[in-house]
């Protein structure tokens, strides 16, 4: 009995110990990032983590100046709002349109359904950088360059999302349930909203999160499409802090913190939905 308990305790210590070491290695870059964001450029080169004065931490050599400059001189609050707007609007609308598209491909019989599905699959295979120039020309012709619409519209119905929802609906929404709803008098919209969407709820959370993060981290498209700095999202605004010739490292680190903080918070809020979406279908009922 004692031996069993000792084994369990040792196992517990071993597991926690390994995880603790891994956690320390993971967290070191973040600590460095945070410490660096409170340093002037000169201090950045003088100390690795916190500035030391002998054995004492020299708190007085830390400064909030990088953060102040971000929000006063460089108008980062504007970029923050732009990022939130682009990511949330794209996330919400793309999730709804993909769910609708996936539902149509999964449950409706219509002429050309096979062709549409093949087209969606083919679109998944095209690498995004390949279509930068044609997209740029198309956006120019539609007078959408330097506008948020130029970024949101091409991201509204990604082929990957449509296919993902199609698969989720094929495997998770029984036809009998849809027929029962229709017999009870529900229209197509009602059936979609009250029967289909609740059944693919984990996928909604996951896809919304993926789309939100995708747009939040999207760098090349905003960099090409947007030209007015007041419209730049954080991904571009942070990259603009890095100059070819002179770099203010404290400013860059502060900008990086501002750009990762909101998504970290969002991930913590949505992690349950995210994980359940990822694992749905992993275990056969």
């Amino acid at each position: 009995m004692t031996s069993l308990r000792t084994t369990r305790v040792l196992g517990w210590i071993w597991t926690r110990g390994v995880l603790l070491i891994a956690a320390i290695f993971t967290i070191i870059p973040f600590l460095w990032l945070i410490a660096s964001s409170f340093k002037s450029n000169e201090e950045f080169f003088r100390s690795t983590f916190l500035p030391m004065d002998g054995k004492r931490i020299a708190w007085e050599r830390l400064t909030t100046e990088p953060f102040r400059r971000l929000f006063t001189e460089l108008d980062f609050s504007n970029s923050l709002v732009n990022s939130i707007f682009l990511s949330s609007v794209t996330g919400v609308v793309a999730t709804l349109s993909c769910a609708m598209g996936g539902y149509a491909l999964a449950k409706f019989r219509f002429k050309g359904r096979g062709f549409c599905t093949a087209l969606v699959l083919a679109a998944v295979l095209i690498p995004a950088p390949l279509i930068i120039a044609p997209t740029y020309q198309l956006l120019y012709r539609l007078d959408l360059l330097d506008s948020f619409a130029g970024l949101i519209l091409p991201a509204l119905a990604p082929a990957f999302g449509v296919f993902l929802f199609r698969q989720a609906i094929v495997s998770g929404v029984p036809n009998d349930l849809l027929e029962a709803a229709r017999i009870d008098g529900a229209g197509e919209w009602r059936t979609f909203a009250t029967v289909v969407l609740p059944l693919v709820r984990p996928m909604i959370g996951t896809f919304l999160m993926v789309t939100f993060l995708g747009m939040w981290n999207n760098f090349i498209a905003p960099q090409v499409v947007l030209q007015d700095p007041s419209k730049f999202p954080l991904s571009v605004a942070v990259a603009e802090l890095r100059r070819g010739y002179y770099n203010d490292y404290g400013l860059q680190m502060a900008g990086t913190i501002i750009s990762i903080l909101p998504v970290m918070v969002l991930f913590l809020v949505m992690q349950k939905d995210f994980v359940s979406g990822l694992t749905s279908g992993a275990v056969k009922a």
Binding site: L208, G244, N247, L266
Partner: protein, 482 residues
């Protein structure tokens, strides 16, 4: 807590996860915020893009002054925008390939421009300035090598911003404390011999610091050394010359600097925190200094102010070239900006005001340490002013003395590709020599052996470039597909 969560969930539709509800709320709030602040000032008629913040800060008051004067006499008003280099290049290429407008005036860095020279010369996205430059006498007024990166197949597509001669910046505090006079150094051999004793500070026979800041992976250092020696990646007709005898000699010699018994070089990378720390600590004594580099060091490593001095680069042989060139920027007018008669004149007037004026010459030197390519200004006393960072040396005058000797750069669209293939060759050569040396081979760093291997590696690189070039039907005359 769970009760609160359940209550919140009860308020939401069954299909909407709480996280998704938060994102929806964010979408509504951010849309409202952007709608409230939607009114933006109307942009001016023309736009100029630049990629460097120091340039932007320098041009801002000048563009403002231009706009004030232009508003009175009916000339075009300009907006100045700062973009990161990759952003500008992506937009420029997307615009040129898609034949849609971008900015009216573009300030572009050398490697970005050469990418636009890959097609037929008449399809280059920039307006051809050759005739205008000839007509206005600017071909004679501007230092000739400054045109080379913007010239392809005899046509010039940009107004040069700079000359960018290269010198060596060295730790005068350390070198002079040891009683060494750098004026006795004429060649790279002299450099290693005269400064060599400074490498071992502890007397244990092992180097504690190195003489030169360079490494085999740094393509800029390699290119400037090749150009200094008279080599390079392409000849004046843009034909690849990677495996030339000069290149072979340079690569073999550099390899002896990077390892083995005659090692003098170490890596203290530019534009990085690690590199700056190593430079500040004196781990490397000398670095390559184009005219624009001083201003960067002044900001990034202020602790070295008054400890540095400039000297001409040591030559590859006695009487050889004591300088090279690193970087380059031009002002170009995209063809899409010239739609109707009079458009070009408006834009050209702005370009000249920005780049050719005496005020610009002063701003360029005072704020960036950069020497103007317009030769008539070179006698200006501003260039004789002592520079505190370089221990009171007249840095401008030192650079101007070397400006006419700056080598020509090529403008091949395959320049970057050729450069990386040459770097590959150097990396292979250096690695092979290191391994042989570690394995106890005594002749691992012998020059004839290194030259033979360099010839082989550069031959492979030459073939790779030729193969890529052969696919280009528009460059038949320089080895492209016919």
């Amino acid at each position: 807590m769970q009760e609160q969560k359940d209550r919140l969930a009860g308020m939401l539709p069954e299909w909407l996860p709480p996280g998704a509800a938060i994102v929806t709320l964010l979408a509504i709030v951010s849309s409202a915020l952007l709608a409230v602040g939607a009114s933006r000032p109307t942009p001016n008629e023309k736009a100029m893009w630049t990629f460097a913040r120091p340039h932007y800060l320098m041009y801002e008051p000048r563009v403002e002054a231009w706009n004030k004067a232009a508003a009175k006499d009916g000339r075009a008003l300009f907006d100045l925008r700062l973009l990161s280099l990759p952003a500008m290049e992506r937009r420029m290429m997307a615009s040129f390939l898609g034949d849609v407008p971008c900015a009216d005036v573009l300030e572009v860095e050398r490697r970005g421009v050469s990418r636009t020279f890959g097609g037929p010369v008449e399809s280059v996205g920039f307006y051809d300035l050759t005739e205008t430059l000839k007509k206005e006498g600017l071909l004679e007024e501007i230092n000739a090598p400054s045109f080379s990166p913007w010239t392809t197949r005899g046509h010039i597509f940009g107004l040069p911003h700079d000359v960018h001669p290269v010198m060596l910046g060295y730790r005068a505090d350390i070198v002079e404390a040891a009683g060494i006079d750098v004026s006795t150094i004429e060649t790279w051999e002299d450099f290693a011999r005269v400064l060599g004793p400074l490498m071992d500070t502890t007397g244990d026979g092992k180097p504690d610091r190195f003489l030169l800041n360079m490494w085999e992976t740094n393509q800029d250092h390699l290119e400037l050394l090749l150009l200094q020696a008279g080599g390079g990646f392409f000849d004046e007709h843009e034909r690849p010359t990677l495996d030339s005898e000069i290149n072979v000699h340079v690569l073999a010699t550099i390899t002896t600097w990077l390892g083995g018994p005659k090692r003098i070089a170490a890596d203290a990378p530019n534009f990085s925190a690690v590199g700056n720390k190593l430079k500040a600590d004196g781990y490397v004594l000398a670095s390559f200094f184009p005219d624009w580099m001083g201003d960067i060091w002044k900001h990034e490593i202020p602790s070295l102010s008054g400890k540095m001095k400039l000297m001409p680069m040591p030559a590859w042989e006695k009487g050889g070239k004591r300088t090279s060139v690193w970087g380059g920027t031009m002002l170009g007018i995209p063809k899409t900006a010239v739609q109707k008669p009079g458009d070009f004149d408006k834009l050209w007037a702005f370009c000249k005001e920005l780049y050719i004026s005496d005020q610009f010459m002063r701003d360029l030197y005072r704020e960036g340490g950069i020497v103007t390519p317009v030769k008539k200004y070179w006698s200006d006393p501003i260039f004789d002013e002592p520079n505190a960072f370089f221990s009171g040396q007249p840095a401008g005058r030192l650079y101007i003395n070397l400006a006419p000797l700056v080598p020509n750069r090529n403008s091949s669209p395959y320049n970057t590709f050729a450069m990386y293939r040459t770097v590959d060759a150097l990396v292979k050569l250096a690695e092979e020599a290191r391994r042989a040396h570690e394995a106890g081979e005594k002749n691992a760093y012998d020059l004839p052996r290194l030259k033979a291997r360099a010839k082989a590696f550069l031959g492979e690189a030459q073939k790779q470039v030729e193969d890529v070039l052969k696919r280009n039907v528009f460059l038949a005359e320089v080895g492209g597909a016919s």
